[in-house]
Amino acid sequence: MNMTKKKTIFTAAVLLVLFAACVIVDLTLPSYHIAVTVIKKATVYALVAVSMNLLNGFTGLFSLGQAGFMLLGAYSYSVLTIPDGKKATVYQYFENGGLPFSFTDIFGGIFGEQVGTIVGMLIALLIGGLLAALFAFLIGLPVLRLKSDYLAIATLGFAEILKAFFQWNGLGPITNGSNLLKSYPTFNKATPYVIIAGLMIALIVLLINSTYGRAFKAIRDDEVAAEAMGINLARHKRMSFIISSFFAGIGGGMMAMYMGTIAAAPFKSALTYEILLIVVIGGIGSITGSVLASFLYIFSSEWLLRGLDSGTFLGINAPAVFKNGFRMAVFSVIIMVIVLFFRKGIMGDKELPNLLDKRPKSRKKKEAAGK
């Protein structure tokens, strides 16, 4: 059988099995169960990690602005979808706070409450993404002239400014200042998260395998050669930056959905580092790696290693050792081990279909076979 065909079938089968597993978890477990939480959070992280990988791993632009773009997505999502009836309680410190309209109510009026809410939520997510993309375009104008570490510092700075700006009381009537935004609609089940993030990641994969994706990789591998072969560096870098930010914005909106309440505080640079960690662990330049690593990361930090903080781990009850903060210590050791023994991350730059590739024979074996 044709190898490409084999790979397609293999990939489709794996994805289908994983999706089915999510649906089964959803149907059998209550929505507050830790497994559902892990799936929800991990899909959100996976989307953001993949968007960061598009920029850092595929275009070679080291940017640390992801938390800022997520913040934009999260705020646009929640501000646009808080129902009119609940605005008075949410914006309790700001009279007549909130936008004069709400997507949930507008589309609820058109399609009926249930469908309308979902349509409103999706459109709000999209607008969050577009806003993040617009912001990326604006800061990209000055920032993309910088290279390597300097780009990282500048984008990190912009993300921090954005966070401070959203906490500013002057914007309170819209952002509720540094108070929580809540009461916006969310999905309780994990499946919608998996579907949305899955579609978005599929779009990124399509982009990476298109002629533009190949141009991005050329820029990453050798900028000088890329420019000499007719690739407009400024245009392609900007494109990659905007597209990556768009998906980070959508990821931010989903983050708001997952958390149920949001404020600017959690979108700090530590969030970006978490995402960066996932990208590095998964493999810079591997979409599969990013997704896999976010599930592993969230699974162990939220579930598997939770016991290290709360007294009992693997049946060992040692409250003197397993107390608050110990989890992070163990986590750091695990990460060090990964960085030491998997230099290129779990997947390197391989993708899911590459798992079917035959291992290249080592040179010695080849020579022996030749003789």
Partner: protein
């Protein structure tokens, strides 16, 4: 009367007080193979970089297919530092980036091979086709450009067969032997559909046999693609064998121009390469 493809007019490239290229005048006609030679540090690669837009010349102009594509005059502190003549003759600044120049139809290779290391042979050539795509990013994501993509892939396959790399198309570019990497770089430049091919020391680091193969290969390219070729080279065998005309640079200055026979017998060129006896 053959068509003039490239014309370098009074090009001077000065880095601070150092004059790397001094008033270079050079013309290349359609279908010619022209070589630029000179001792190390003569300014050959700098001249290439001026033509391809990597550097902006301090003064002078470059014409391509009858159109002025690059022009500059001394500006700022270079006004004082500028040592060349012809300073008043150029008043505009036209400074396109290398990608614009490639789109105009000029493609180059590099002195030290610059292939895209993580890509396969096939993809290396295919990426060079990117500058010829007309589809935008949305039609590319949603695969509305299938026709164009299929056409490009077919063209790349064809090109790889012509240059003899079709068997290796799925291998990593860096896993090829050195001579084939050079060949691949030339194939990649050809994929950008140029009318003028610039080769920067294509035979650097090659053994005599590989050099012979390369000489034949460059001739083949000229005939098959009706290509005009401008090359920098140190291997005199290759240069003398293949070039229609040769320009010689020494310390940035053009010291000779002519057919291979003329150059071989030119006393100034011999002096530049071998040095002049002090008591002479």
């Amino acid at each position: 009367m053959s068509k003039n493809v490239l014309k370098i007019e009074n090009a001077t490239m000065q880095f601070g007080g150092v004059v790397a290229v001094d008033n270079l005048n050079l013309e290349i006609n359609q279908g010619e193979i022209v070589a630029l030679i000179g001792p190390n540090g003569a300014g050959k690669t700098t001249a290439f970089n001026v033509v391809t837009g990597v550097y902006q010349p301090t003064n002078g102009a470059v014409w391509f297919n009858g159109e002025k594509i690059i022009e500059n005059h001394p500006q700022g502190k270079m006004k004082k530092l500028y040592k060349g003549e012809h300073a008043g003759e150029y008043n505009n600044t036209i400074a396109p980036t290398p990608d614009v120049i490639t789109k105009l139809g000029m493609a180059r290779t590099f002195q030290n091979i610059r292939l895209w290391k993580s890509q396969t042979v096939f993809d290396n050539v295919l990426i060079a086709k990117h500058c010829r795509t007309t589809s935008n990013v949305f039609s590319a994501i949603f695969r509305l450009n299938r026709k164009e993509e299929a056409k490009q892939r077919a063209e790349v396959e064809e090109l790889l067969k012509v240059v003899g790399l079709y068997e290796e198309r799925n291998e990593l570019a860096t896993s090829l032997p050195y001579g084939k990497q050079r060949r691949l770089e030339i194939a990649r430049a050809l994929a950008a559909e140029p009318t003028l091919l610039l080769l920067d020391e294509p035979a650097a680091g090659m053994n005599p046999q590989e050099t012979d193969e390369l000489t034949a290969f460059i001739g083949e390219i000229r005939d098959k693609f009706n290509m005009t070729i401008f090359l920098i080279e140190h291997h005199m065998d290759l240069v003398m064998h293949i070039s229609d005309r040769i320009y010689v640079l020494d310390f940035g200055k053009q010291i000779a121009e002519g057919t291979p026979e003329e150059i071989q017998n030119n006393q100034r060129v011999i002096d530049a390469y071998l040095g002049v006896a002090e008591d002479a």
